[in-house]
């Protein structure tokens, strides 16, 4: 239960904090990486977000769900770091983008790579909602809350994003069939 865990963290129980990190850290890193396009910036954003959680939990209402609050902090950190480091390219990101294809057939691998590239190329307004919905699995009401958006605005952005990605998949499918012929 997050509430008990968070109460313990308020009392500065570091084991509880580690437990919280183990529960949410991996997906936070994934979401931050998809938002920033960089594993290195993602790690910085997640570090800052968790430190803010550790020291600012008193201002959080324990009756509310933790994740929307946390992801609001995380997304803001991602945006802040992107602004600060907009001209910085991390060599490590090139080195780390080695996809694990051992358990995937080549077709799926290339298709996922194409789709991920297409998601990365969406503008922020569309991309971040898509990431929160499909990577993290948030409900639309939660995403609207995290991003401070009207629900209809959010639905419209998700719709636009899906249309663009469907077109990418359709084009990819057609190219693949042509290649097979």
């Amino acid at each position: 239960m997050d509430r008990i865990l968070l109460q313990r963290i308020r009392e500065k129980d570091k084991h509880a904090f580690e437990e919280l990190y183990n529960k949410y850290g991996a997906y936070a890193l994934r979401v931050a990486a998809a938002v920033t396009g960089s594993a290195a910036i993602a790690a910085d954003a997640v570090q800052e977000a968790f430190i803010r959680v550790y020291y600012n939990l008193d201002s959080f209402d324990l009756d509310r769900p933790f994740e929307p609050w946390f992801y609001r902090i995380l997304i803001n950190e991602c945006k802040r770091l992107l602004k600060k480091g907009s001209k910085v390219t991390y060599i490590s990101d090139y080195m780390e983008t080695a996809w694990n294809v051992s358990e995937e057939d080549d077709y799926n691998f290339v298709e996922y790579e194409e789709l991920y590239r297409a998601i990365s190329n969406l503008n922020d307004k569309i991309r971040i909602p898509i990431i929160l919905k499909y990577l993290k699995g948030f409900k639309e009401t939660e995403i609207a809350q995290i991003l401070g958006l009207n629900l209809n605005t959010l639905k419209s952005r998700l719709y636009k994003g899906r249309q663009k990605l469907k077109k990418v998949l359709k084009d990819y499918g057609e190219r693949s069939r042509e290649y097979e012929l």
Partner: protein, 253 residues
Amino acid sequence: MNYKGFEEKVTRALNHGTEPAASLKEETYYRIKEEIDRIDKGEIKLSKRKKTGAKHIISIGTIAAVLTVSFMMATQPGQAALDKIRQWFEPEKKIVDEIEGMPEDINGKLQESTMGYVLYYDQDRYMVVSEDGIDRIETIEKPENYPPVFMEISQDTERTPEELAAEWEEKLKAEFVKVKNYGWVDWPLDSIMLYANTGNNWNDTVVKYYFVDNTQGGTFVIKQQLFFEASEGHGVRLDNALKEFTIVSLDEE
């Protein structure tokens, strides 16, 4: 391809693409723990910690710039920092702006604020009054029977642009006939923008709010108050001043 199949593909693509970041989980926790230990031992202060990320002059396109000025004392932004800023920015400069389709020479004057920003404003038309933590750029000429025109800049060090924009949107709805939230905009500067008016008569009040991330977890709140007929003239002039709004982050050395 059915809808569920499409959604699964998007999820799988995102999971594959972010695999390198997920592998940083342990390393990142180690860094968090180390940082918290240092804060708890008093080796570094939470509020004075150097934020991660680049610490140098960073230009964000032509929209806004963030300038980090290092100074020796861990104090609030003060005279020493402003002296440093003066070395970087000319006190006055000529700017050519387009007003209602025509190029116009502007005598720009540097406004250096202890809040941590600078901008150039048209010194032939406007003056700056600073009090109670608010910088107010107002018209020098104040003709009778015309509503006031001004731009106020303040800072909320605790809340994000999203939080403040949501709060102000509700407040404006109670007072104005039309309220529009434009979300994140990149002109005249990177911010969340709200617009509201009391109607379409020449003297109806128009307000615009820009909520700008101050890069330290807070927000610069910029309010422009105009009247309907002045939206094109003063509105554009004040927006032009914001094009060169530069955040000066005053970190300790």
